[in-house]
Amino acid sequence: MTKHIALASSILLIFAAAPAPAQVTKQINVSQDQLARAGSDSRNWLHTQGNYAQTRYYPGAQINTKNVRKLRPAFVFQTEVNESMETAPIVVDGVMYLTTSYNHVYAADAATGKELWHYKHRMGPVTTFCCGPNNRGVAISGGKLFMGTLDAKLIALDALTGKLVWEKQIADPEKGYSETMAPTVVENKVLIGTNGGEYGIRGFLKAFDAGSGSLLWTFYTIPEKGHEGVWAEKDATGRNMHRDIAKEKAALSQQGGDFYQTLGGGVWMNPAIDLKARTAWFVAGNPSPDLYGDERPGDNLYTDSLVAIDLDQGTYKCHFQYIAHDVWDLDAVSPPILVDVKDRSGNMVPGVLHGGKTGHVYVHNRKDCSLIRFSQTMIPQENMWVLPTPEGARMLPGANGGVEWSPMAWEPKNRLAIALNLHQPMTYHVEAAKYPGGSKLWLGGAFKVIASEKQWGRVSAVNVDTGKVAWKHDTEQPLIGGGLATAGGLFFFGEGNGSFNALDSATGKKLWSFNCGAGANAQPVSYMVRGKQYVAMGCGGNTQIDFKRGNSVFVFSLTE
């Protein structure tokens, strides 16, 4: 023992010249009250989507339409992971917490970029995930950070030191479960969904105790009974989906409904929280397999749906399905936003917004999930809903949308939901395929882009009370990543070519741009340190659209 200590001291001596690793020196203790009032807190960025309503609206206006042209990099935080970056940094009291692909977490000084600590998750031997080794960020509550991992764990870290406090296996990675979403914490409950709709999982939203990591409740996005639904012939916008319902009914009565265990319905993005109504709102993704429907007769509830559940018990409240028996993977991913909206009689009511892969913004009544209106199409739609064929059937939008996981931002002054869209013309291919046991990608076909047709992106601002597109801004590449609206009248978003841009959020006019050198496809955030406003954006590219990879978070402030 003594010998070991002596050896240890000599090692310490050798490294004495190197500076001691920095750590967070101030107290970090985020209260529930702070989390609930995050929407009016211009100092901190406490939730992946800004606040429980998920508006991604920053209430500070120091950086605004008048001065944004003077925005310059304050620092660049380089991580050691050169891979797809989707993180939304969390900022508390001048400390930034950001994540990378493969579940690294960094703490950094949010004004200087000085690294405070670095945590690398020790990945289990088996991981199974679709669309990149992404991570979209941590959640914070009290003095702890929470992150989901690619090997389907939920972990809690000490926000001061980056040391692991507890970890909990959420589901079995051998069966296709994995985590890329940031959790949401509310009243000591850590809420997290799951990926895996491409592997035949049974989706869920789970709540864990923030203190101990013990499971509090599970809501399965696929009910054991009744997932066949109402045999809907039309989608949310009234278009016929060309289902052979007689054939489906016969198949269901013959094979039974046990396939609920592999029917998919992943939850990729944060739930919104209505504390007053004690409700969690989220969207559930595609059925498994994505493109081959014969294995799963029925509406496949609650895939491709907006779902409301009780925050305390995790029990069902209501749902609205956009596409029943989806065979295009045009599912529901972009996180819902809670704002008041005009109903059809013109009365303001509590509403829910969702940006769809179909290219519509859907506006719902929070009372019962019902659809109040859907927006004009934000991008071209053609041949909807032509069924996939073995040779490939062309339909627009392509399988990435529309609005992919990309969170929208809310601009309250003009009542605009601002959405990032893709236009990627594709052919949809079906291939009969039995459940392969969870260990292999199970799409039941494929989609391919059409090389001769141009791809592009579009920012669309939709007036939620009318459903009309108020303005649009086109980009040369498809858009994937988050938006950020600010009280300074700005809308920030990034492009795959590295451009990180600010538009006038009332008109869509481009006011500022900076090229990060790698795909600006993460989720921008804003905050203040010692009276100075910063805007941060991860620029690490994207696996799904194969945008140039990088490893850095860029942080901007106004030049003097």
Partner: protein
């Protein structure tokens, strides 16, 4: 790892002592993802994938054998094959790969991940044979993704992809 090294001696004749085979029809296993290697061995053993040479070799393997072998080969370093890719064909292959959205699963640079194999730097002959086998449904153990994609590829597309993938490192 040492267990795997010992067990891998039986594979050396075709795949090389460190998984860098010298015969272009035998795939390079060095640097392949361990998950993919394990699942393929299991599929050979259980008959979901067949090959006159591999099927009888995989038949007696235990789960631990397969995991050890997978871990060993995954930890080896792949060496360049020296394949002389035709630049024009490789460029066409890249365009076809972009259109087919290959890297959504195979990751950037075809580095592979988990159950999706690394194909960067793989032998041209092996890539062409496998894509052809998917297309002709000789190989059907991938749950439908590759058979669906390969159906849309012409023989020339497959050769172009072979040039492109063999030229990556």
């Amino acid at each position: 790892m040492e267990l795997g090294r010992k067990k891998a001696e039986a594979c050396a004749a075709c795949h090389g002592p460190d998984g860098n085979s010298v015969v272009p029809l035998f795939p390079i296993l060095a640097g392949q993802t361990s998950r993919y290697l394990y699942l393929e061995l299991r599929d050979f053993k259980e008959g979901r994938r067949t090959d006159p040479q591999m099927s009888p070799i995989a038949a007696p393997l235990t789960r631990d054998d397969m995991l050890d072998l997978a871990a060993f080969f995954a930890a080896q370093k792949p060496r360049p094959t020296g394949f002389n890719a035709d630049a024009a064909r490789a460029a066409r292959g890249k365009a076809k790969a972009d259109e087919t959205l290959c890297t959504m699963c195979h990751l950037g640079g075809f580095a592979g991940q988990n159950e999706i194999p690394r194909v960067a730097g793989q032998y041209y002959e092996y890539v062409v044979k496998q894509l052809g086998d998917f297309k002709n449904r000789v190989r059907t153990n991938d749950a439908g993704s590759m058979t669906s994609v390969a159906r849309t590829l012409s023989d020339q597309d497959i050769e172009d992809l072979g040039h492109y993938l063999a030229s990556l490192q």
